[in-house]
């Protein structure tokens, strides 16, 4: 049994955050915080201890998700996965993030992504197949999915 993940949710839509929290917990992981803006997110990053942060690009204070990802990356506390309906907003270097779960994801797509990320974070590289709708950043592509 691989150790479950501690998840930070950075998402401005309450409904989506709520449902994401339920799915994460049903899958056996825990949610350590929820932030809706970049300021809240910074505070949550400093006060919690997450393994992974799901970060939406568009937050209540604008398209600040990439800044949040950079902030998390500088503190080297947790890993980042973007979760957005607008993946083209993500810079080519992904601000150090693992990749992106494109919205709208399916329930099964999210559960598969959680399994994949759990393996990738705890025992990299992940063994399961990369789920549809999940895209790795170029940097993680070379480590997690080298083309044999």
């Amino acid at each position: 049994m691989i150790e479950p993940l501690k998840v930070l949710i950075v998402e401005d839509e309450a409904l989506l955050a709520m449902e994401l929290e339920s799915l994460v917990e049903e899958a056996g992981h825990s949610v350590v915080g929820w932030a809706t803006s970049s300021a809240e997110a910074r505070k949550a990053v400093d006060t919690t201890d997450a393994d992974i942060a799901f970060v939406d690009i568009h937050l209540t204070d604008g398209p600040t998700g990439v800044d949040v990802a950079r902030y998390i990356g500088e503190r080297r506390k947790s890993m980042v996965v973007f979760m957005t309906a607008n993946p083209k907003r993500i810079p080519d270097h992904f601000a150090g993030a693992i990749g992106v779960i494109a919205k709208p994801y399916t329930m099964n797509g999210l559960l598969s992504a959680l399994r994949y990320l759990q393996e990738g974070v705890r025992r990299p590289p992940p063994k399961s197949a990369r789920p549809a709708g999940f895209t790795l950043s170029p940097a993680f592509e070379t480590v997690w999915a080298p083309t044999s």
Partner: protein, 382 residues
């Protein structure tokens, strides 16, 4: 030899006089040169500085000089400040090299006005190859030069206008694309919200039939989600490749069903369809695949079900053909007319002007849909 040479030189001089005075009358060639509308001169390279020794009336008319003003002078008095130095240099080389040359050069009249001179110079030698004179003709081509310049200017203006218009259109296209992405972004967020609402509702329900019905609804919403996600990933947000959608859909439905003994067999050509067709196509494929998963395979005593689900997509001339097959229990020729799933499939097929048929695949079922689709090469379409 010397004698001959002197004589010829003297003759050359005299010829000039003769042309004006006597010989011209008897010599039709000399008369023609004197009278032609083409400006002509002759210079003598054997005299110092190669002076003009003959000029016809057309030359005097063209340049505005009197005959005595030009005779004995080198032609360079025709040049002025705006005369191209390179053109002058080319002329000098031709004269030094004793070869003929033609060149367009800007010349000046006596009154200081300018004209474009299509100048032709050729050396004239005797039978022994000794250079005697240069013959030069001048043609005023100012009009031609003016229209050349006008054409160049017009062309530049036109190109600039085209470039400006292209930039405007590119900017408009970019704005349109950004707007489309923005709208699309909202559509996708809303699809995610709808799915979340259904999932939340389902959590509160104990009744298995009610839960199942919400699950079926969620599957339909998620088929649209998968299609919209693909639509946005394609370069052109107005089109998508349905084969990508089919791959995502079947892997999602198979893992969601948890039935690890059912395999998918995909035979997918890339088929591009427009965004309007995407929704009905996504829903039909979802109904057929979920039907196969739900109804085709009977469970073994150990609770597992084994079998294959196939999707084929091809595009023979102007059609999109989709085939969803299974090797399960089959439908025994009974295609329900009343159940909701079937009605949904048939209505959507009608919307797409598609033909749809259920076939006994022995074992299993094969459903074939043929949808009229526009030509695949975008360059040819629209």
């Amino acid at each position: 030899m010397d004698w001959k040479r002197t004589r010829e030189s003297a003759d050359a001089w005299h010829m000039t006089d003769d042309l004006h005075v006597e010989h011209g009358k008897g010599d039709p060639f000399a008369a023609a040169i004197r009278a032609t509308r083409m400006s002509m001169i002759i210079t003598d390279p054997r005299q110092a500085d190669n002076p003009i020794v003959f000029a016809n009336d057309a030359f005097l008319r063209l340049t505005g000089y009197q005959r005595q003003e030009v005779l004995g002078r080198n032609c360079r008095f025709l040049q002025g400040p705006k005369t191209d130095k390179a053109a002058v240099e080319k002329l000098r080389k031709a004269v030094d090299g004793v070869v003929d040359t033609s060149i367009d050069i800007l010349n000046y009249r006596k009154d200081g006005s300018t004209f474009w001179n299509a100048l032709y110079i050729s050396p004239v030698s005797n039978d022994r190859g000794e250079l005697l004179f240069f013959f030069a003709s001048q043609l005023d081509v100012s009009d031609r030069k003016r229209s050349e310049r006008r054409i160049t200017a017009d062309k530049e203006r036109f190109e600039k206008a085209v470039q400006e218009r292209t930039q405007e259109l590119e900017a408009a296209l970019e704005a349109r694309t950004t707007l489309l992405h923005e709208v699309d972004h909202r559509v996708k967020n809303n699809l995610q919200m709808i799915a979340s609402l259904i999932l939340m509702q389902r959590r509160t329900i104990k009744d298995e039939a009610a839960r199942q019905s919400l699950t079926t609804t969620l599957e339909r919403i998620e088929a649209l989600s998968t299609m919209h996600r693909r639509l946005y990933q394609s370069k052109d947000v107005g089109r998508l490749d349905v084969s990508d959608f089919a791959r995502d859909l079947i892997s999602d439905l198979l893992t969601a069903s948890g039935r690890t003994h059912i395999n998918s067999k995909l035979d997918l050509e890339p088929v591009s369809i427009s965004a309007e067709k995407a929704t009905p196509v996504a829903l039909i494929v979802n109904e057929l695949v979920t039907n196969a998963l739900k109804h085709a395979f009977s469970e073994q005593p150990d609770g597992t079900a084994t079998g294959n689900i196939g999707i084929r997509m091809s595009q023979p001339d102007g059609h999109l053909n989709i085939e969803v097959s299974d090797d399960g229990v089959g439908m025994a020729g009974t295609v329900s007319e009343t159940s909701f799933g079937m009605r949904l499939i048939k209505s959507l097929a009608k919307q797409l002007h598609a033909e749809i048929g259920w076939h006994d695949a022995a074992p299993g079922t094969k459903v074939v849909i043929s949808i009229p689709n526009e030509p695949q090469h975008k360059e040819n379409a629209s």
